[in-house]
Amino acid sequence: MLKTTDNKDRLMMIAFTVAVLAAPVILAPFGAGYPDLMQRFAIYGIFAIGFNLLFGLTGYLSFGHAAFLGVGSYAAVWMLKLLSVNVIPAIIFAVVISGLFALLIGYVSLRRSGIYFSILTLAFAQMSYNLAYSVLTPITNGETGLQMDLDDPRILDAATAPGQLPPPSLFGLEMGDTHYLSFMGLDLQLNVGFYVCAAILILMFYISLRIFRSPFGMLLRAIKSNQTRLNYTGVHTRPYALVVFVISGMYAGLAGALLVCMDPLAGPERMQWTASGEVVLMTIMGGAGTLIGPVLGACIIKYFENIFSRVNDAVVSNWFSGLPDSLGDFFSAIVSPFLGSGWQMSLGLIFMLVIIFLPGGLMEGVTRLIGWLGRLFRSRNNDEDAETTSAKESSPDPHSSRPASPKES
């Protein structure tokens, strides 16, 4: 049993790696194969994977994860300003700082669970936003946002390029470098920044896979299913929850650092509650508690955000230009609030629709579809197969060898 899951994981890991590395080829037909968007897919994928480690495994719904992203961003910009434009120290520093920040917030917030926890994390994120916006202006540069400057010390490499502002790079490979390539009639854009993000995404996916399969991951899942019983059996759950909270915060900090490495600018709006809500939506849309779901959700949300927010009124009226004038105006009046700057409204609506109709996310949708198709197929053949599959479905996780204990009342 253990062996088969191992093989399955290996297969999934390989498939994921190939898919990520081939992203420019896969995404080009959708018009999403350009560096900026692909970088965002990978970065928010990392963010969502990290969030899923917390929410998917333990069920603790954090509403303040954008704060860690923001802290990571600020830390990374400071590293770029102070040390050098190499992205490695920036990323490491950002991860460490956001980890410490998560430790602080987690220590307080994890004293309560359920709704209290959500409220507390939301409050802390909002506090960070307020701080970044006003009080900590010397560190965060307030509303304008923090960016690199010619007067920065840049201890390590200021001497090499005097009087100019080099873009962030990885040992000389500039993040913005793009190689254009024609492949099977598609114009591909192979971007250094994207491949840096992709490599980190794959690594982070692997770590998340290991956590999911480890005894630690089992314990976290036990917290989700019944924390009280864990406490009664003598397991002190808070340290475990705190560890995963910090890990999750570090993922977010990493994502923030990567955002900065691609575009060296950090603003307080990255910490706003809508940003926190977005990552929750990504995770749930893809499927919380699944491995691949959050990445999928992140890609879908960012893809639609990109498409929706680009459309402006002129484009909308162009769509309906075939219709009579009054009818066209009527339709564009209905559609346009949801597009362009109204993307947030569509986001809110998608949010509600997903929660109402598909709380398990797309992955659950796919599973349901497969199950439905399978049942359809089987009912035509014979009915005996149905019993074996239902037995397989109800069998508990392969790792638990003990018989399932009776459900609590």
């Binding site: 069920g59 719904l61 509403f63 307080v108 004293r111 309560r112 669970s113 359920g114 709704i115 209290y116 959500s118 409220i119 507390l120 939301l122 409050a123 802390f124 909002q126 506090m127 307020n130 701080l131 006003s134 009080v135 924390q227 009280t228 509650w273 809508t274 809500g277 929750v280 749930i284 609030p337 109204g342 947030q344 409204m345 986001l347 809110g348 609506l349 998608i350 949010f351 509600m352 929660i355 109402i356 709380p359």
Partner: protein
């Protein structure tokens, strides 16, 4: 002494708003067990009720003056609101007091919105996990906020207080602290009194009416009340409507203090969540007390003396969160929280 008195007064208006919103939140939470992230949107909608009514009342007829001309030679435009045309002097007062008319306007509107929200959306989420309830109301909050943004634009829309309530009064002289020691804007005092009346009204309603008694019984043990043959669901729906009205009215009366904008709801909501947590989830008295307490604390934190004491850091933005942290570390259930509410 004067300064302290002044800061307490300063904290009262914000504290009143916190207390009213937190009261609404707790009403919904205590009866239906739902944490309503769209509650801030109700506050905002209440504020925009004032904006709508004011716009309606001051719809104008634009005519061109026959005699006067502008320096450019074109006739001066004369704006006459229809209400003034129809009712003359009475019409002018109507526009001037539009905030008070908005109360009458907002009560049915908020009641309908609240009941529609409960029947149309939240009803389906009682049996779902709390995370789902949070998320769906969160989505609703975004949608409502964006609708307001689409209709009214992103800029704040200033609403004047009625003429008679503009300006300040010298409270210091009234209580014997010497002239001009404590000067306080009249409207803030009105807001505080209004909030006090509403809060007293809600408590009296729950305490002294049969309806309120049934609701309290339902809060304590919903099942038993249901078994007694009382349709408790319908009363809880009404309580949701009541909570929406309370929150909406808090928004209506707050407009002269803070110009309504589309994100005011969420700004207040986050703070009010903290208020509710500090007061103790599910405790109405705790919510009100914590609301005033934190409002006053916030105003003390913004004193220049405090700032000087903390080496120039102004902590008025974060004091509430810091207090929340301390309370949670020392009294995890909040000031007046009871055992067994949201403990898991």
């Amino acid at each position: 002494m004067d300064a302290i008195f002044l800061q307490i007064l300063n904290g009262l208006d914000k504290g009143s708003a916190y207390a009213l919103i937190a009261l609404g939140l707790t009403l919904i939470f205590g009866t239906l067990g739902v944490v309503n992230f769209a509650h801030g949107a109700l506050f905002m909608i209440g504020a925009f009720c004032t904006v709508i009514l004011n716009k309606l009342l001051s719809l104008e007829l634009v005519t061109q003056s026959a005699t006067e001309t502008t320096p450019w030679g074109t006739p001066v435009e004369v704006h006459t609101p229809y209400v003034v045309m129809w009712f003359g002097k009475v019409g002018e007062t109507m526009i001037d007091y539009s905030v008070f008319w908005s109360i009458l306007f907002a009560i049915p509107v908020m009641l309908i919105i609240g009941i529609a929200m409960e029947r149309g959306l939240i009803k389906f989420f009682y049996k779902r996990p709390h995370a789902d309830q949070i998320l769906v109301t969160f989505g609703l909050a975004i949608v409502l906020q964006e609708i307001i943004k689409q209709v009214f634009g992103a800029n704040p829309i200033p609403q004047p207080a009625p003429e008679a309530f503009v300006g300040s009064i010298d409270i210091g002289a009234l209580v014997g602290l010497g002239a001009n020691a404590v000067v306080y804007p009249i409207w803030r005092l009105v807001y505080f009194l209004f909030a006090a009346v509403i809060i007293a009204g809600v408590f009296a309603f729950l305490r002294y009416t049969t309806f309120g008694m049934v609701v309290r019984a339902g809060m304590a043990d919903r099942e038993t009340v249901g078994l007694l043959g009382i349709n408790i669901d319908r009363r809880f729906t009404a309580m949701f409507g009541l909570a929406a009205v309370v929150t909406g009215l808090a928004g209506v009366m707050y407009t002269p203090i803070l110009s309504p904008n589309y994100h005011m709801g969420m700004d207040f909501l986050v703070l009010c969540f903290v208020v509710v947590v500090v007061g103790g989830m599910g405790s109405l008295a705790g919510a009100v007390a914590a609301g005033f307490l934190l409002g006053i604390l916030q105003s003390f934190a913004s004193m220049p003396e405090v700032k000087a004491f903390l080496f120039g850091f102004s902590i008025d933005q974060v004091i509430i969160y810091l207090v929340a942290v301390v309370i949670l570390l020392t009294r995890p259930r909040g000031l007046m929280g009871r055992k067994g509410i949201m403990e898991t």
